[in-house]
Symmetry: C2
Subunit: 445 residues, 2 copies
C-alpha cells in the first residue's frame, strides 16, 4: 500500500521498543528520537526529555493563549513480543493481512498515537492556526507502570498546562462502535497474614485445641461478603454515588451481552451483587476480591499439618465517590474485629488508586461525543471500565485536567498477545477523530 | 558402663538402618540379620522374612497352646539423622550423657524393643516355660508408612496368631509417669478444588460479575465450623460415643496442663470446641482441620487476578464410633450443598483410618495397668492420643487382636529430631515391664 501515513506507522512499529527488557534500551532512545524528528517534520516543536527512566517526547503546536489547549497522551513502549513462535508474521515486521496491521504495539499504543499525530500534522499542513493548541506527550514507560510520569508532570507542569487531555488507549465496546470511557474504577490493596503456632503442628496431636490460621483466614475472607454477594464491610457503600438513570440506560445500551462476558471470562454463569446487571457490576459497582490466598501444605496428596500461618491478598475496586484510604481503614477494622483469640492478625496495606469519572454531559464530554459520532457515524457507547488507568488520576492530580478516553482499539486487537493487530480503518478513523476533537474543543472557545 | 544389656543395645543402635534412604538398604539387611542372631542367642526361634520392602524379623518362644499368646511389635528402622551438625555426638555412635543414651533410634524404637527382647530373654534364661507364649515382630518400614505390613500379616496370619499385642512406641504423659494409651483418633482425608474461569482473569475487568473460586473455597472452609468452634457438618457428631465419667476423670488427672500444651504448640492461647478441655479436644473429640489451602497469586506484592481455581486439603480426626467413609460422605454432601453457581466443585476423597479404642477396664487393659503400676510404682495415666497409628488398626483388622500401647519414651526424648535419646532408667524399666506384662497376662489364663 503506497501511503506515506502507513509508511510512517510501519517505521514506528519497526522499533522493538520493549520498555521492560534492558537490551532494548538503545531501541527506546532511537524510537524517541525518531518520533521527535517525525513531529518536527510535520511542523511541531518537539524534544526528547529525560525522565529518570525511558525518555518521553513532547511536541507542541504554536501556542495561542486565546485558544484551549489539548494534551494528547500516548506511549511508544510496547509489551514483550514473546512467545515469538505464535506470531504469524514477525512482531517487529509490520504486515497487512485482511485489512489489519499486524505488529507488536500496533494497537497498544503506536497505531492510535500515530493516528493522532498524523491527523494533527494534516491540520498543520493546511496552514493557519489550529482551533486548539496541541501538546503531545508520548512516554516510554506505560507498559512498566509509568513510575516516572508523576514526577515528570510535576517537573514540567507549566509546559504541559492544558484544559483537557485526550487518550486513545482503551477499547471499543464492539467493533466499529465509537466509545467514550467515562469512568474507571479505583483500587485499594491489602494483604493480611494470620500467624498461629511458631511452627507447623501435627494436626493429630494438636488439632482441636489450637486455632488453625488457615481456617481463620478462610473465615475472614468469607466475612467480606454477605450471602447474596454484597460486600459486608460496615460502611463500604457509604460513599458510593448511586447510579443515575442515564448511567443505567447507557450500561443497558452497550452492545455487550451477558453471554459475551461469559465467553470472555470462560465461565458458564455470571454472579455478583444483587440488583445490578453484569455490566454495572464490573464498571459501576465496587468489589472485594481475593487475588491470592494460601497456607499450609501446597503439594500433592495429604500432609497432616496444622499450618503456622496463612495469608490472603485482597483488592477492592472502587467507584465514585469512594476513597481508597477510607476503604482500607474500614476493611482493616472489619478484619481486626473478626480475628479470634489464639492467632495474631497482621494487616499490610497496599497501593491505592482513586476511581475516575468524567461527566459525559460536561462540555468536554459532549464535545468528545460529537467528535466520535461525526467520525464513526453512530451514537457513541458510554462505557465504564472496571480496571484502573493510574495515569488518568495522575493527570487529574498534577495537571488538574480531565482525560477523555476515546477508544480506537477493537475488542479483537489482541493487545499484549501474539498477533496483535490494528484495523487500517481504525487507523484512518483515528486521524479523523483527532481532527474532529480538535475542532469540537476549539469551537468551545 | 560394663553391662552386656547396654552393649546389646549399642550394637543395635550402631546400624544406620534408615528405611527411607536407599543407600542404607544393606544396613537394613545387616540389622535384621543381627536381630535374628540376637534372638537365637537368647533362646528364641527366629528368622528374617521378605516383605516386598525391607525385611521383617519374627522370633518366638516355644508354643504352649494352653497359654495365652502375646505379640510384641516394634521396628528396627529409624528416621534419617539429618541435620547432622545439630547432634552433640554422632547419631550412630551411641553415647551416654547424664543417664541418657544418645543415638538415632534410641527412643524410636530400638531402645524399647530391645528392652522387651532382653526382658523376655532374661525370663528364658531362667529356664522353664514362660507364663505366656511370645511372638516378636520387628519390622523395618514403620518410618515409611508400614506399607507392606498389612500384606505381610495376611500372609503370616496363622504364624502370628495371638491374643493380644503389646507395643511400646508411644510417649509417657510426663517423665517417669507410667502411661497406657487406650485410644487413638481415626482420620478421613479429602481435598476439594473449586474450578472457575478457564484462566486467571483481570480482577478489574471481570471482578464483581464472576464468582471468585478463592472466595468460594474460603466460604466452604468457613462453613465447616459454627461460630463457637463445633464442626457444622450435619450429622458429624451422630456416631460419637459420649465421654464416660471415668474418661473425663482420667483426662483431668493427666499430668499435662493447658500451658504445657501452649508451650509445645508455640501459641499463647488455646481454642476449640466448647464444653471440653484441651486434653479432651485433642484426644477424645473429632475435628475438621485445614491442612493446606491455596489459590491465585502466591508471590510478593499484588497481582490483580481473579484466580481460575482454588483448593483446600482437609482432614477429619475421628473418635469412636465414627466411620471415616461415613464422615467423607457427610462432608461431601455438606460441601456440594454449599457450592454456589458459577463455579464447579471437585471433591477428591483421600485416605481413611478407623479410630482405635481399647477399654482399660477390659481384662487385657487391667493386666497392662497392673504391669505398669508394678514397674513404675504409681498409678498409670490413661491417655488418648490425637494422632493415628495405622498399624494398630491393621493388627485389629488382620489378627483381630487389641494392642496395648505401653509408653516407655519420655516427652523430651526428641524422637525424629537431633539428639534423640532414651533414659537408661526407661531402658531398664522396659525390661521389667516386659516381664511384668508377660506375668500379668499369663496369670489371666
Amino acid at each position: 500500500m503506497n501511503d506515506s501515513r502507513i509508511s510512517d506507522l510501519f517505521e514506528f512499529l519497526r522499533f522493538p521498543s520493549v520498555s521492560t527488557q534492558s537490551e532494548h534500551m538503545v531501541d527506546m532512545i532511537a524510537c524517541a528520537e525518531w518520533l521527535k524528528r517525525k513531529f518536527i517534520s510535520l511542523g511541531f516543536q518537539s524534544d526528547v526529555y529525560q525522565t529518570g527512566g525511558h525518555p518521553a517526547v513532547i511536541a507542541k503546536t504554536r501556542h495561542d493563549s486565546a485558544r484551549p489547549t489539548i494534551l494528547i497522551y500516548g506511549h511508544y513502549d510496547v509489551q514483550p513480543p514473546e512467545p515469538l513462535e505464535e506470531w504469524t508474521s514477525p512482531p517487529f515486521e509490520p504486515t497487512i493481512r485482511d485489512g489489519r496491521i499486524y505488529a507488536r504495539g500496533s494497537t497498544d499504543n503506536k497505531g492510535q498515537i500515530m493516528a493522532h499525530i498524523l491527523g494533527a500534522g494534516d491540520l498543520l499542513s493546511q496552514g493557519g492556526v489550529l482551533p486548539a493548541n496541541l501538546i503531545f506527550l508520548v512516554e516510554g514507560e506505560e507498559e512498566i507502570g509509568s513510575d516516572n510520569l508523576g514526577g515528570f508532570l510535576e517537573q514540567h507542569r507549566a509546559e504541559l498546562d492544558c484544559d483537557v487531555i485526550v487518550i486513545s488507549d482503551t477499547g471499543m465496546a464492539a467493533p466499529g462502535y465509537p466509545t467514550l470511557t467515562f469512568s474507571l474504577r479505583g483500587i485499594a490493596a491489602l494483604q493480611f497474614n494470620v500467624h498461629g503456632p511458631t511452627q507447623d503442628l501435627h494436626s493429630g496431636v494438636f488439632g482441636g485445641a489450637v486455632m488453625n490460621p488457615a481456617t481463620v483466614a478462610a473465615r475472614l475472607i468469607a466475612s467480606l461478603h454477605d450471602e447474596e454477594g454484597r460486600v459486608a464491610i460496615d460502611g463500604f457503600y457509604n460513599d458510593v454515588r448511586p447510579l443515575l438513570d442515564w448511567e443505567r440506560e447507557a450500561a443497558a445500551a452497550l452492545p455487550i451481552t451477558e453471554s459475551d462476558i461469559c465467553a470472555l471470562a470462560g465461565v458458564k454463569e455470571l454472579a455478583g451483587e444483587p440488583g445490578f446487571t453484569a455490566i454495572e457490576r464490573v464498571g459501576a459497582r465496587p468489589t472485594a476480591e481475593v487475588n491470592g490466598m494460601g497456607g499450609g501444605y501446597q503439594g500433592e496428596g495429604t500432609k497432616t499439618v496444622l499450618p503456622r500461618e496463612a495469608f490472603a491478598k485482597l483488592t477492592f475496586r472502587l467507584v465514585p465517590n469512594q476513597h481508597p484510604e477510607e476503604i482500607l481503614r474500614l476493611a482493616e477494622a472489619h478484619l481486626l474485629a473478626r480475628c479470634p483469640k489464639g492467632v495474631r492478625l497482621e494487616i499490610l496495606p497496599g497501593h491505592c488508586g482513586e476511581p475516575y469519572y468524567v461527566d459525559p454531559n460536561s462540555v468536554y464530554g459532549k464535545a468528545s461525543l460529537r467528535a466520535l459520532e461525526r467520525v464513526f457515524g453512530r451514537r457513541p457507547a458510554l462505557m465504564r471500565e472496571g480496571g484502573s488507568i493510574p495515569i488518568v488520576t495522575t493527570f487529574k492530580k498534577v495537571l488538574n485536567a480531565d482525560s477523555l478516553l476515546l477508544a480506537l482499539a477493537a475488542p479483537d486487537c489482541r493487545a499484549h498477545s501474539p498477533n496483535e493487530n490494528f484495523p487500517l480503518e481504525n487507523f484512518f478513523a483515528g486521524m479523523r477523530l483527532n481532527q474532529a476533537i480538535v475542532e469540537e474543543i476549539g469551537r468551545l472557545n
